[in-house]
């Protein structure tokens, strides 16, 4: 397969040497455009859609659930409808399940088969989420993974690892940290890290210093 940095069909390709898989994906993209299956505009719209999603959406949902028990109940019963209340469009998700952490139970999410992730809510997954290392160890050494993220749990806390192998996407509702009664809802949202919604760590115990 030949490849030039700026080729005849009018868009720039990266100038460094591409991997086999990168070359393949560009070739497939070019063919799809050439054959009229999708347009350059479709691709751009999809990139913009993906970039507009971020863990801030999830943090907003979690903070509201912490301050409003009725909202939390609705969030667990019908997550899509609860997201819509906050102006977050989760309809692109097939099915969406919220896993509530408690003092006695922690949830952790992985996709051992590929990289299934609640993208319409949280945006793109971190690279480590897609790594073979995480995908293997999350299921057979979840406590080891959590320890590396700074979370050490006593043995009587139940760890439940969810392997999202099919149509369901999961998000963890982390525990509200103790001593945060005085914080406002937007401040609480700042405690909710992306990784706490994947479940490898708890929410931050206090506001990060800027």
């Amino acid at each position: 397969m030949s490849h030039s940095p700026a080729d005849e069909h009018g868009h720039e390709h990266p100038k460094h040497e591409l991997s086999h898989y990168a070359k393949r994906i560009y070739a497939i993209r070019d063919l799809l455009v050439e054959k009229g299956v999708i347009s350059e505009k479709d691709i751009q719209c999809q990139i913009e859609y993906q970039e507009a999603r971020s863990p801030a959406n999830g943090a907003k949902i979690v903070a509201r659930a912490w301050v409003d028990p009725a909202f939390k109940a609705r969030l667990i019963a019908d997550p899509k409808a609860a997201c819509a209340e906050l102006g977050i469009d989760a309809m692109a998700l097939n099915e969406f399940v919220v896993l509530e952490n408690t003092e006695n139970v922690r949830h952790m999410v992985v996709c051992t088969l590929c990289s299934c992730y609640p993208r319409p809510i949280l945006g793109r997954p971190p690279d480590w989420y897609k790594s073979f290392n995480y995908r293997q160890r999350s299921v057979n050494d979840p406590r080891g993974v959590m320890r590396e993220f700074g979370l050490v749990l006593p043995d009587d806390v139940e760890v439940r690892v969810h392997d999202s192998t099919a149509d369901i996407r999961y998000i963890v509702l982390p525990l509200r940290p103790k001593g945060t009664e005085g914080l406002s809802e937007p401040e609480l949202a700042r405690l909710v890290t992306r990784d706490s919604m994947i479940g490898v760590m708890d929410a931050l115990p206090q506001l990060p210093s800027l």
Partner: protein
């Protein structure tokens, strides 16, 4: 969630079929042949083994949340109550009596 036509209900003890065949299989290897129980019935979904190859995914298959004790999956255990939970379609499960 969707309407469910499958054979199992929450609490049923199930074993994951220990089969190997080519195709777009959404049942991970590490869980095949293992015994757990149905935690939740998610409803009927189009079959990804057909969808992946341009098929219509019909008939739909019931999808379950199936729980396994970590010890039953790996033979050793970090903490007694720890579990791994996998989403598995009806045709990959068999009843355990």
């Amino acid at each position: 969630m969707n309407f469910a036509t499958g054979t199992f209900k929450p609490g049923d003890k199930v074993r994951v079929r220990d089969e190997d065949r080519p195709g777009h299989i959404r049942t991970p290897y590490y869980i095949r042949g293992k015994t757990g129980w149905v935690e939740r019935v998610y409803g009927d979904f189009r079959n990804p083994e057909s969808l992946a190859f341009g098929g219509d995914g019909l008939p739909k298959r019931t999808l379950y949340l199936v729980a396994f004790n970590q010890a039953d999956v790996w033979g050793s255990v970090q903490a007694r109550r720890d579990k791994v939970l996998v989403d598995i379609y009806d045709h990959w499960l068999e009843p355990v009596t």
